[in-house]
Symmetry: C2
Subunit: 399 residues, 2 copies
């Protein structure tokens, strides 16, 4: 596997992109388009929030035949809690785009991100579609990455290359997300482009596995979005032998897709609203996978743990307090808490008591918390952001 | 029922108190004592966190005979995650206090609050016990209320008077708690004193009901403490006929106790770390009581809802987003969201769209959110704090 320097979603063969400003944000591009020169196999995973953005039902319908050729994305407005009008608006955009691209409406996917509960300024968007399509080319990926940003401080994109049956195959992705980040999934959008030739069923499987091991393992603020979407377009232009279910090629493709999604997920955590640090929390010795996940989520979302890490505050007692409230099975006397590979708590008693040593341990950009419940054999790792006054400032004002 | 102006825990007959500084905090009193001149019937409710402070097991043992005469409380150190030594330390304090008061050790309750994972400076505490006992009197309640504070900005206490069978009965309470506040229960300590004469079984029942309807309905930050304790001492000096199970006197006593606990719970929310506002969240139309509670808790703990309220930010879409992630049953098209008695969202669509009107609605010290799931007949109300940069500051630094 080779990480491509400055790799983008146009690194795989046959993908063009464009972005422009249509007035959803005050300035900066807010409408992006990703286009494959041929129809691609496609799959997507969406938020499990019961309140869903308008685009999700439409995409689910359009993906019934497991293919797509274009994705249009707007930032600045989530088009969520907008009822029938919201869906009609999304369909109008799809219709306009399909006409301009001369493709079927069913080949278009759509996604929105931004404020909830406002109608899209539909005319502004529709009127810009011809310009958006006309400008499609192979070197606008950076602009598109910026167009899907909301509170992100930098665009998130990457591409890697692998060899499959002697053919070069490229997998790339662009993502956005900095707040409202919690599984399942993070509040985020991610679009994967690849020139791999792959069975639709295998593609679906690989995407689900990648998302479960990346975006579903991160939390910035415990909030689950209404708009989360991860979609992949695989246009087959690499010319590899088709990747099939249960093949060793699928294994390799899956591992690579997982790697790309994980890297982007880490960028999202690192760029978490107001975040300065990444907190890696591993639960070991849980009675079940569910309990390991619940415990990891509880710690990674604890405001007291998050502020403790933010402030290099040696108050590690907040960690057992958080675990104790997670509703998982363990005995207090068997609980072990490790901070940056140093045991701080074991056999119901403090182990590392020197505040100066503790403070120095915490003065790192990535802090690891390992918790052994000693109650079973399941484990789970999650990554989260610290909590700073800047997070509060952003979300008090964001509008 | 009569609210006593400047009522305190020494308002009921026969209760003395004292407080002093023994070096647990940098300054200000940090050790308090509540004492009934006669043995009292007693009951308590404790945290359901799996990691519990040392004092809890001891109190549970001492309460087996449903009576107590003294409560000693320290702030500045939670005596939690301190294993055997922590328990031995607590027992030493009890032993020293019992000797000085000339009462049985079993008649003493103990409680701690503060930093987790540090051993108590036991000698400092023990050496101050004679002075603490010597200074017991009827007018130190204010000082005691201050001695149990941690990040609280003001002491929380009150007393009310009722008539039972022609006799004046007084119920009073003191509480602390400002962060790590979430059911079950809030991170808080509360000590209720009353001169009522009441059956132990009836007292237990009344306390449980009062706590369920007060401290278990509030959340400052979604964190459940290791130390939560609500204890009541009823010394019978009012001379009323004994309040018995299922009597109309118990009904009146229970209602009054609930009122006192509710008032103190509201003081805790109002004084929530960094909080400027109280958010009252009511869920209606839930399929079960559990679902109503889960949904209310999810909204009241949502950082995005809390920052929205803090900033008079008209982004009400965060409320349906939060409900959608709560894991409760409802249909999006039946969801109704009301803010300050104005419907903002109904039939999947925004209703109140004027940002200026929305901002003005939010510019209140208490903000009410009403959510109708229209999925059943159960409801639940919770009270929480908004989230400000000050909360983050306090908990980044608190140590």
């Amino acid at each position: 596997m080779k990480d491509l320097k400055q790799g983008t979603i146009t690194s795989p063969l046959g993908f063009k992109t464009n972005a422009l400003w249509c007035g959803l944000k005050q300035k900066n591009p807010d409408l992006g388009l990703i286009y494959s020169i041929v129809e691609a196999n496609a799959a997507a995973v969406f938020t499990s929030n019961k309140v869903k953005a308008a685009h999700i039902e439409i995409d689910q319908a359009n993906l019934r035949n497991n293919s797509a050729q274009a994705v249009i994305i707007n930032s600045g407005n989530a088009n969520c809690c907008t009822g029938k009008k919201g869906k009609q608006d999304a369909l109008k955009i799809i219709s306009g785009l399909a006409k301009n691209l001369d493709i079927k409406e069913k080949s278009v996917l759509i996604a929105s991100t931004g404020v909830i509960g406002k109608y899209l300024p539909i005319n502004k968007i529709i009127s810009k579609i011809p310009e958006l399509v006309k400008g499609l080319n192979f070197n606008k990926a950076e602009k598109t990455a910026k167009a899907i940003m909301t509170t992100d401080t930098y665009p998130k994109q990457m591409a890697v290359e692998i060899k499959l049956n002697g053919k070069k195959v490229t997998i790339a992705a662009v993502a956005k997300g900095a707040g409202m980040i919690c599984p399942n999934m993070a509040t985020m959008l991610c679009f994967v482009t690849t020139d791999a030739y792959i069975q639709p069923k295998a593609l679906k499987q690989a995407l689900k596995e990648a998302v479960d091991n990346s975006f579903n393992c991160i939390s910035v603020d415990g909030e689950m979005s209404t708009n989360d979407t991860v979609a992949v377009l695989a246009n087959g232009l690499a010319g590899n032998t088709q990747i099939k279910d249960k093949s060793k090629e699928l294994k390799k493709f899956s591992a690579t897709l997982k790697y790309v999604c994980f890297k982007l997920a880490m960028m999202i955590v690192e760029d978490g609203e107001g975040a300065n640090k990444i907190i890696q929390t591993t639960i070991k010795g849980a009675k079940s996978k569910q309990q390991a996940q619940a415990a990891a989520l509880c710690v990674v979302n604890s405001p007291l743990v998050k502020t403790m890490i933010a402030g290099n505050n040696p108050n590690w007692g907040r960690i057992p307090a958080s675990i104790g409230a997670a509703g998982v099975d363990f005995k207090e006397e068997k609980l072990e808490v490790t901070l940056q590979n140093k045991i701080v708590y074991k056999k119901s008693s403090p182990v590392l008591k020197d505040n100066k040593v503790l403070i120095n341990l915490l003065k790192k950009k990535q802090v690891s918390i390992d918790i052994n419940l000693n109650a079973g054999k399941f484990s789970h790792t999650m990554w989260g952001s610290d909590l700073t006054a800047e997070y509060v400032k952003i979300n008090t004002e964001y509008n």
